[in-house]
């Protein structure tokens, strides 16, 4: 069981963008809940595509609508009091408004989900093996015996020691990391083509998280499953995702490849997220730069850009458009952000004010950063530099206290 592997090819970078139609396509998804206090717009006009074999990371804070999006895709939301509109197609099949029978055929077979809290997601009443075997029997019509064999095989694949014996254990007899592995086995038992993982490692310890993330990546390379990975941790995103969608107040504020979002982000909210997390390699004597304020209530989201009350750069947009006009997500290819700042200005602000504080080397000096955006960003940044020298980053000193004044 103890193996020290010697020089070995590291996991290859994900395959470049494939051809053909997206496997999962979400268009203008809106989810609203009627509550006693009014209507909550949990998801407000979200669109994204996911190709086969790729991983899309959905990043956002609690209440940004990332989990609701996935429940709506799978049709797992409570139909009472919920209005869902838009289009969700999986491999050409429309999912929204599809009859329950058809969804039931797809769920567990073609698409499945891993939940955050494995203790509540697994039933305490049935053995782990039975819970894994059940969807397999239902979808493939296999015999009881065959399904049990399959459960043992799956448990072994996800790294449960002695699967022959552990298949008859109940969830409470497993440790947290093993339960999460069992849930992955349950989700993958029918070889689904779409896997939705909703914060699958948030409740786990960091060494176990690393095991589970690597396991998901390795299994994906073997099976070619598409994954939607919901998380709030940008480190996890950097580790597992190919593409990233940043959500704020039920909307997509920025989307692009993982390099785009983490190396040259364009939306002030993404800048804020990157600047506020402590990192192992960042200088320690520099204080973190938090985003002032707190996320808005979705009962009564701010008009215009939902981020504008917390944004340090709204003064840069003429005519206070941020407070009145909702910025559209402008896409060039698969890359875009919803912000009124124009493209050059955004790149200049990031290069002059945000990136230096991250303690990273500039893109051009980094040999590894030979991505297409590297030289491009630097070129456009230069003429802008003169303009930005004058204005001080005024928002930082009081950023620490911003949340208190409400």
């Amino acid at each position: 069981m103890t193996t020290v592997t010697t020089p070995q090819p590291r996991p290859e970078p994900p395959a470049p963008r494939g051809t053909g139609d997206p496997f999962l396509s979400v268009r203008d998804l809106r989810v609203r809940f009627a509550t006693e206090d009014g209507e909550v717009r949990a998801v407000d006009g979200l669109s994204f595509d996911l190709e086969r074999g790729r991983t899309l990371g959905i990043v956002g804070e609690s209440g940004s609508g990332k989990s609701v999006t996935n429940l709506a895709v799978l049709g797992l939301h409570d139909p009472r009091g919920t209005t869902v509109s838009g289009r969700v197609t999986l491999d050409g099949q429309e999912l929204l408004g599809a009859p329950r029978k058809r969804l039931e055929k797809l769920r567990g077979a073609k698409m499945s989900m891993i939940f955050q809290d494995s203790l509540t997601a697994l039933s305490p009443y049935y053995t782990v093996g039975r819970q894994i075997a059940e969807p397999y029997r239902k979808h493939t019509g296999a015999s009881r015996h065959r399904a049990r064999q399959r459960a043992v095989e799956m448990l072994g694949r996800v790294g449960i020691p002695q699967p022959q014996r552990r298949v008859d254990d109940f969830p409470h007899q497993f440790s947290g990391g093993m339960r999460q592995r069992a849930m992955i086995a349950l989700a993958l038992v029918c070889d689904p083509q779409l896997l939705i993982a909703d914060e699958p490692t948030t409740a786990l310890d960091v060494t176990v998280q690393a095991q589970i993330l690597d396991l998901l990546k390795d299994l994906q390379r073997q099976t070619g499953t598409s994954i939607v990975f919901v998380t709030h941790d940008l480190g996890v995103v950097a580790d597992v995702c190919d593409d990233v969608l940043v959500m704020y107040a039920g909307r997509c504020v920025e989307t692009g490849t993982v390099r785009d979002i983490l190396k040259t982000p364009e939306h002030p909210y993404s800048w804020g997220l990157l600047s506020s997390i402590p990192r192992l390699k960042a200088p320690v004597d520099v204080p973190l730069r938090p985003i002032p304020g707190s996320p808005p209530s979705l009962l009564d989201p701010p008009p215009g850009c939902p981020f504008h009350p917390r944004c340090a750069f709204r003064d840069e947009v003429a005519g206070d458009r941020c407070a009145t006009e909702r910025p559209q997500l402008l896409l060039t290819g698969a890359r875009g952000s919803a912000c009124h700042l124009d493209g050059d200005r955004k790149r200049a602000i990031f290069a002059d004010r945000i990136r230096p504080a991250l303690g990273r080397r500039p893109e051009a000096a980094s040999p590894a950063a030979a991505g297409p955006e590297g030289p491009d960003a630097d070129r456009t940044a230069e003429p802008e530099a003169d303009r930005t020298v004058a204005d001080e980053p005024a928002a930082e000193p009081e950023a620490d206290q911003g949340e208190g004044n409400r």
Binding site: T5, Q8, A15, R406
Partner: protein, 368 residues
């Protein structure tokens, strides 16, 4: 635990709090009518550390390693099973409530869950002035003035004095908890996962607030967290715990740049970094979870998950000592320490059977 003394000459500032061989075992009872002791959870089993005045000592480890129990022992919310706890030269290991009263004004605590740690039926003003009232300090008028001042210090609006906790967001509640901890002008604050329940963008606000307080007021911190990056940011010295023991302790640079214990290496290697170019680190993937503290492994407790373990590890418990070539105050408990670097040295350590199987057999993916 052998009583290896801490290096006294570590950082500036006199020792404020000293723990020597500190242990806490929780009995496990069984039986009908007559409860019988069938075992003990060895939550903390012999830890030695010193917190100096004005410094921040970080305590990291995975869940179940005993870091929260250590925090509760230090604040004497729990009574140690064994060992010695000294606060400014005074032995408080088994001190009574009465003896503790003056010490408790100087050691305060900030809790993890800002929802559970504030009484929902009391106003913020009552919560923050509570410690002053209990200690019988100041007149009611002066207490209110002081409370408003405290609210302002932590970045809340003093006019929120009469509001209730439910009217605040998580980050603001945590600020209320900080104001309460500050009300008695403590010399040491035990912060037990103070930011882990908060959203990413709010975490930094609270970390900065605590850092400002530490700098301006010279308060010492015992900063307990599982997030290694947060601890690195906040603490000058760091202790790594595993199954109730400190396995490595040293200043920030020693632990994060030149760690020696295999477990510290594994922890650092597992932290995901928000940088797609971050591939210069070694890759270590342990197998399984932390064993139960009910029946911890003999000898070195990490040996069951360690790739360097030999027979000696099962029989001899490694003492926490300074190894050859390590900095002053950098102590490691390991028989077969690692090289003091976290850089990738060309071979991965993959102990997880599923990962080893998946990575060992399948061919690298072809670019489509």
């Amino acid at each position: 635990m052998s009583g290896i003394a801490m290096t006294k000459a570590a950082p500036a500032g006199e020792p404020l709090l000293e723990a020597a061989g500190l242990a806490k075992h929780f009995p496990v009872l069984d039986g009908f009518l007559f409860k019988r002791r069938v075992g003990a959870v060895q939550a903390v089993d012999g830890v030695d550390f010193t917190v100096h005045a004005g410094e921040s000592l970080g305590l990291v480890g995975e869940s179940g390693c005993g870091k929260s129990t250590t925090g509760r022992l230090v604040t004497r919310l729990l009574e140690p099973t064994a060992g010695r706890l000294t606060y400014r030269g005074q032995d408080i290991t088994h001190a009574t409530r009465k003896q503790l009263a003056p010490v408790r004004t100087e050691i305060q605590m900030i809790f993890q869950d800002p929802y559970a740690s504030l009484n929902p039926r009391r106003t913020v003003g009552e919560i923050v002035s509570g410690p002053l009232e209990i200690q019988g300090l100041l007149t009611p008028g002066a207490r209110e003035r002081r409370t408003r001042e405290l609210l302002e210090i932590v970045g809340l609006n003093p006019e929120h004095y009469n509001r209730f906790p439910h009217e605040f967001s998580g980050g603001q509640r945590q600020r209320v908890g900080v104001a309460r901890a500050l009300s008695l002008e403590p010399k040491l604050i035990v912060a037990d996962e103070p930011v882990s329940a908060l959203d990413v963008s709010i975490q930094a606000q609270v970390v900065n607030l605590l850092q400002r307080l530490q700098r301006e007021m010279g308060i010492a911190f015992l900063f307990i967290a599982h997030d290694l990056a947060v601890v690195r940011h906040f603490s000058q010295r760091v202790a790594v715990m595993y199954l109730g023991r400190i396995i490595e302790i040293g200043d920030r640079d020693a632990i994060y740049e030149h760690p020696r214990h295999p477990y510290t290496h594994a922890l650092l290697s597992a932290v995901p970094e928000a940088d797609p170019d971050d591939d210069g680190r070694e890759r270590i993937r342990l197998a399984g979870d932390v064993p139960s503290p009910l029946n911890p492994p003999s000898g070195c407790r990490f040996r069951t998950r360690c790739w360097k373990a030999q027979d000696k590890c099962a029989t001899d418990e490694p003492p926490l000592v300074r190894l050859d070539g390590d900095a002053e105050g950098h102590l490691t408990a390991c028989h077969f320490p690692q090289e003091p670097t976290v850089a990738d040295r060309g071979h991965d350590v993959v102990l997880d059977p599923a990962l080893a199987a998946l990575e060992g057999t399948e061919p690298p993916r072809e670019p489509a």
